[in-house]
Symmetry: C2
Subunit: 414 residues, 2 copies
Amino acid sequence: MIGIDEDRAIADLHRLARFGKCGTGVDRLALTDADIAAREWLRGRMAEAGLDASIDRLGTVYGRAPNAKASVLLGSHTDTVPRGGWLDGALGVIFALETARAWRAAHPSAAVGVDAISFTDEEGTFHACLGSQAFCGDVAEADLAPARNAAGESLLARLAELELSGRAAARLDPRRHRAYLEAHIEQGPRLINDGVDIGIVTGIVGVRRHRVRFEGQADHAGTTPMAMRRDASFAMFRFATEVAARFRAVGTAESVWNFGVVSVKPGAANVVANEAEVVTEYRDLSPAVIDRMEAALLDLLRERDGEGGVAVSANMIGAIAPTAMDERLIAKFAAAAEGEKASFRRMQSGAGHDAMILGRRIPAAMMFVPSIGGRSHDISEDTDEADIRRGLRVFARAVEMTLEALGPDGDGAL
Amino acid sequence: MIGIDEDRAIADLHRLARFGKCGTGVDRLALTDADIAAREWLRGRMAEAGLDASIDRLGTVYGRAPNAKASVLLGSHTDTVPRGGWLDGALGVIFALETARAWRAAHPSAAVGVDAISFTDEEGTFHACLGSQAFCGDVAEADLAPARNAAGESLLARLAELELSGRAAARLDPRRHRAYLEAHIEQGPRLINDGVDIGIVTGIVGVRRHRVRFEGQADHAGTTPMAMRRDASFAMFRFATEVAARFRAVGTAESVWNFGVVSVKPGAANVVANEAEVVTEYRDLSPAVIDRMEAALLDLLRERDGEGGVAVSANMIGAIAPTAMDERLIAKFAAAAEGEKASFRRMQSGAGHDAMILGRRIPAAMMFVPSIGGRSHDISEDTDEADIRRGLRVFARAVEMTLEALGPDGDGAL
C-alpha cells in the first residue's frame, strides 16, 4: 500500500487555499498573480517530492517522475472561477501530489512512476480546459491568439508578461502516460443527499448549446391590438416552456437543460419586443439522447417558425461530445472503495473536466467526493474533512491497483 | 362654417417637420434646440393669427384668443420621441392653429374664442405629459427638481439655460376653457386596416405595470439534477405564459398586455438562473377590467410562489387611471364626421395623450386619423394627405359645433 500522509495532504490543501484567499473560498483566475504564485508553490512541492517539476509555456505545472519509463498521470487544475471554492480542482491536484510523492518515496527507482499535473485554465478564464487541451495537442497556435479574458486582456500578452512564452510545452506521451486519474468534488448534491461516500464517474456528459432567436416587430404596446402583434418575448416564453416538456419526453432521468442567457429588445415596458434570444443548453451522457434532444428542439422550431408573425431560428454555439471513462479504471476505483469500506455510486459527471480531454487520448477515470449542499463555483463550496481523507485513501489505493496492473516494467494490461 | 385653409395647414405641417428633420421623420426631443426653434416658430404663427402667444416657463406654447371671456382649447404637443414621426403631436397642434386662426379671422371680436396650445414634453424626455400636467396644476415644484433626461441633464438646469425659468406659467382656467379637443394620429393599425376615416376616442385606457420577480438559486447547470433546481428563468417563462392566458380570460377584446422588459441573472449558459424579472404591463379602458387583470396576476403569483423552490413577488411600478372622454364632445365629433361624409368608429386610445390629463379637469375629447401601417414612434410614421385634410375638416367642424353649443356668450351647455 502506498504510504500516503493524510495530514500532510490536508495541510497542503489549506496552504494552497491561501493563494487568492477570498472569504471561505478563493479567487484565483488563471494566470493572475495569485494563480501563478500558487503554481510556483506547487512546483516547489513537487520538486521537494523528487519529481522533475516545471511550469510550462501556458502555466501548466507538470511533475515528472524521473527514471520512470512509464507512468500513471494524476491531476486536475489549481485555477478557479471568480470567487470560487477552495477544493474545485485543488483537491485533485493535492491528491495527485500526495500520491506521487508517497509512491516516489517508497519506490524511488521504479520503472513505472507517478506523474502529477495541474493543468492551466480549466475554468476558461481565457479558454476552457486550455492546459489539458494543449497537453493533448488539441489547441492550435491560431486558437491562442484571439483568447482574451472578460476584461479583454490577451492570453498571449499575459503569458509574455509572465515570461512563460518561451518555455517548453508539457505534452502527453501515450507511450509514457498509461492512464490518467483525477479526483474532484462532485459539484452537485447527489452524493451528499444520499449519504454516499464516493462517486465513480462512468462518463462526462456531452453538451450542446443553441442560441434560439425570435424576430417579431416593435409596436406600441398600448395601441396595437393583441391579435396584430408580432411579439418576440411572448413567443420565446411559449417556446422555452414547450421545449422543456419535449426534452423531458425524449431525455432520460439524467438529462439536464438550462435557459441561462435571455435577452429581449428593445427592452421598454410599453414597446412590444421585436427581438428575443434564449441560449438553450442541454446535456446527456448518451450521444443518441443528445441527438434526440436536438431533434426535439429543431422540430419545435420548425413548428413555431412564423407563428404569430414571429420568425424563430437557432444556431449551435457549442457542442462537446460525451466522453466515456475507462471501464478497467472504473473497476479499480470500485475495488479501492470496497477496500476502504467506502460506499460508492457509479454516476455521470454533468460538468466538464480535464479528464474529458485526456479520456479521448488515453484510458482515464475520475472519482468524486461529496460537496456540502451540492455547492460549487462559489466561496460557500466545501467538503467534510473526513470525506476528503476517505477520498484520498480511495484514490491512492486505486492508483496503486493501476500501478500493480501495469507491472514492474509498465507493460501490463490495465 | 369656419373658413379653414387646408393648404395653409398642410404647408405649416411640412414647415414644422423641418425642425429636427431626421430622414422621413423628426428628432425633436423636448427642450432641445430643435424643439425650442419649432416652438418659437409656432409662437410666431399664433401671433400672426392674432392670438396672444407666448412660451411659458416650461416651454408650452399658448396662443390665447384676445378679448374672449370663454374659449374652446385645442392642442397637442410638438416634441417627439428620438427618431420619431412627423405627425405625432404636430398634427393636433397644426389643426389647433388652423382652426384658431380661421375662427379668429372670421370672428375677431367674439366673446367666445379658440385658444391653441402645444404642451411641453408630452413624450417624457424629462417627465411624461409635463406641459399638460403643469397646465392643470398637477405637477408640484418638488417633482421638477429630480427630472432628468436620458443623458442625465437636469430639467431645471436646461430651462435656466434656455432663459425660460423666470417666465409665467400657462395655466388652465376652467371658467375660460370650456372644452379641450385634440386631434392625433392613431398610432395603431385599426383604422387603416379597416378603411375607416376617423377614430373618435371614447376614453384613454388605464395602464398598470408590475415588476414580477423570481428568486431561485444559482447552480451548476450540468451537475444539478432537474428535480433539485430552483430555476428562476424557467419559472418566469411558465408564469408569463400562464398570466397571458388568464389576462385573456378576464379581459375584454380590447385589453392589451406586454412583457417588454425581461432580465435573467447571472446570465451564463451553464448556470441555473437565480434571478429573473419581467415587467408586466396591462391596459384597459375599464377600471373594473384592469382590477380583474391585476387580481388574476396576483392570484397566479400566490399560486406559484415557492413552486420549484422559486419565490415570486411583484411590485406595482406604475398605475394610470383610465380617462373617459366627454360624451357630448364625442357626439360632436360623430356629427362632424357625418357632416363631412367621413366613416368613423368609436374606439379607445391605447396610448396616453395630453387629453388624458385635461379630461380629468374639463370636458375633453380626441379624434384620430389613420396611421399608415399603424406605425408610430418611428421615422416611418405617416398618414395619407387626403386623410389629414379630411381629419382637419372633421376637427374644425366639431370645434364649430362646440362653439355653437356654447353660444355667443360662452355660457351655453355643451
